[in-house]
Symmetry: C2
Subunit: 355 residues, 2 copies
């Protein structure tokens, strides 16, 4: 695994086995920051094919017939639906995790522990071009993609029964991607996941105690500490969270409190796009060929504006895997301290401007 190639944090300057147990105060999610794990040898050489696939790519321009009909598209005025001439295209996932309509269950469980897994599972084809994994989009294009995310979230509000949507991107094989052509996904669900509910409840509780959203508090604390900051601007701040689950994990939050991504205004989206594009470029320099997940954490579709929940975009690099220890404990092991990760990600003139 690529982690083995990195220089240990404490090499030559202290005990290599220094580890720290950290907990996200809101999520109660524990992480072992364990720099001594980095330099492990690895018997398994993993080769990835980065060339053209052996099948026609369903997401390339000209192959529109290989997907279901587009549910949302940005296309030139003189083009026709489900043909060439688009720059972002949203289609149903051909291998959906959820069925389009409710159905009966196999498992006849005690009430409440089994239900139909229905909803929407869509692919957001980010570009007509079959870009290599090492490329990322210019800020302007990420901005357009964010507008598409917003539109899908707004549209899902009109589908009776849908409660929550997860917008995400799996980039590269170690991040769970099966197709190389750049694409995001969105899964809309008939119930709010417990992890999301738990964060909403913890946030509202903190708001009632302290009169402030806990993520706004964290944002202030991280700006003051500075050691984990990656980029700041009047609209958006990026940092490596203290209890990072993954090496180089980075969160991007709007500076002004907001619970719903779909209400973000163009100024926030533009700055978010600028920072995301810069950080992804920098990550590719720091760890070439990196796989990562992007996850948008936003409030449930029908929730009112929430004083205790603050939306965020998470970059989750996948240099480490979940293994036996993680399944047994629910804890993560992260060999790169977020203080070091932020320091490396900041070494870029394009970041850290403003604010």
């Amino acid at each position: 695994m690529p982690v083995a190639d990195l220089v240990p944090e404490h090499a030559g300057s202290g005990p290599r086995t220094m580890s720290e147990l950290r907990c996200d105060p809101l999520l109660k999610r524990w992480v072992l920051i364990a720099p001594g794990r980095e330099s492990r040898p690895d018997d398994f050489a993993v080769a990835t094919t980065n060339g053209q696939p052996d099948h026609p790519c369903p997401f390339c321009e000209g192959n529109e017939s290989l997907t279901g009909p587009e549910v949302l598209v940005r296309r030139s005025t003189n083009s026709t639906a489900n043909g060439p001439g688009w720059d972002i295209r949203v289609v149903p996932n051909r291998y959906p995790a959820v069925a389009p309509e409710p159905a009966s269950q196999i498992w006849k469980a005690t009430a409440g522990f089994s239900e139909s897994g229905w909803g929407r599972h869509e692919v957001i084809v980010e570009t007509p071009r079959h870009l290599p994994l090492t490329a990322t989009h210019a800020p302007e294009h990420w901005h357009r993609l964010f507008e598409v995310f917003q539109q899908r979230l707004m549209d899902f509000r009109t589908v009776a029964g849908l409660q929550h949507a997860i917008v995400f991107k799996n980039h590269g094989p170690a991040a769970g991607a099966s197709l190389m052509h750049p694409h995001c996904q969105v899964i809309a669900l008939p119930r709010v996941p417990d992890a999301v509910t738990a964060e909403l409840q913890a946030g509202e509780q903190r708001w009632h105690q302290a009169g402030k959203c806990p993520r706004c508090e964290l944002l202030d604390a991280e700006i003051e500490a500075g050691t984990r900051l990656v980029a700041t601007a009047p609209e958006v701040v990026a940092w490596c969270p203290p209890a990072s689950r993954f090496p180089y994990e980075t969160w991007l939050l709007p500076r002004q409190h907001s619970s719903h991504f779909e209400s973000a205004d163009p100024g926030v989206l533009a700055e978010l796009a600028r920072q995301l594009s810069g950080i992804l470029t920098r990550l590719e320099q720091v760890v070439p060929g990196l796989s990562y997940n992007l996850v948008l954490q936003t409030a449930p579709l029908h929730a009112p504006a929430l004083a205790g929940f603050h939306w965020r975009l998470e970059i989750l690099p996948r240099l480490t895997g979940m293994a036996g220890f993680e399944w047994g404990s629910g804890w993560f092991i992260n060999p790169v301290a977020p203080e070091r990760a932020a320091r490396e990600l900041r070494c870029n003139d394009r970041l850290g401007e403003g604010g």
Copy 2:
């Protein structure tokens, strides 16, 4: 990914996108059983090296000097410590996730959200032989390994400050293994993970309500239902849990209630070993080259015998990865329904005997 090669559950016999949302009643852990995901195409051909490593294997007999000194060993009477002549050898992990002693933290967090990550991280070298990934041990050898697990758990009770231990095995690269030579690991920790505490509390609560351990209830229900059973005997029962997170996930539980693995008697260990060996052999037939994790879920080191907690050994095959959706929702997506998994795993004369 290998999942793409499997025959879809519902191919030609119903809607391919039928999905079911299932929750483990005790753990409140949700899973999307999504057979439609199985037949996805995959651009990323992953090659694994299954031959000899390019470095001397630290776990092979004769290379004992490449590890730290053995902390526990089964060796022939005429051999010397840290030399050849052993059949199971426990050594400190060279790249530990936890430090041997407490140390100060980097993150000066609010009290309670950061502490030293200390404890014990050991490797249990299962055999002196550099066996291929496709091999598993005979039942007699698994039995000896279980006795070593018990001994380590008992020994950790005598180390002041250690509260909980996770015994696990990462088998194959997709399961997080970095070395091929068969080995288990154990990590002993200075606090009980929240996920374990939550299961203990939910179990005690259920016991007070129903007068019965919830896993004993589940065991009875699974034997009665039969559809998810893999093997039964008077001492040990194996089944694919209804809310399986992973394809072919299998749990092995002692039929007689017991909260601590270290109190299991030889008859239980012998049957557990027989079933584990048979199921791993069968798994290799069903999905050749499979990576998997083994996780022992047992009570905290200093807990008294608990009426509401029941130890178990989990087999967690790694055909699917955690990706953006899983991080965003806390839910798993499993493309193989456990009813089908159990049916395939049962097709073996060595299993299903007795009881």
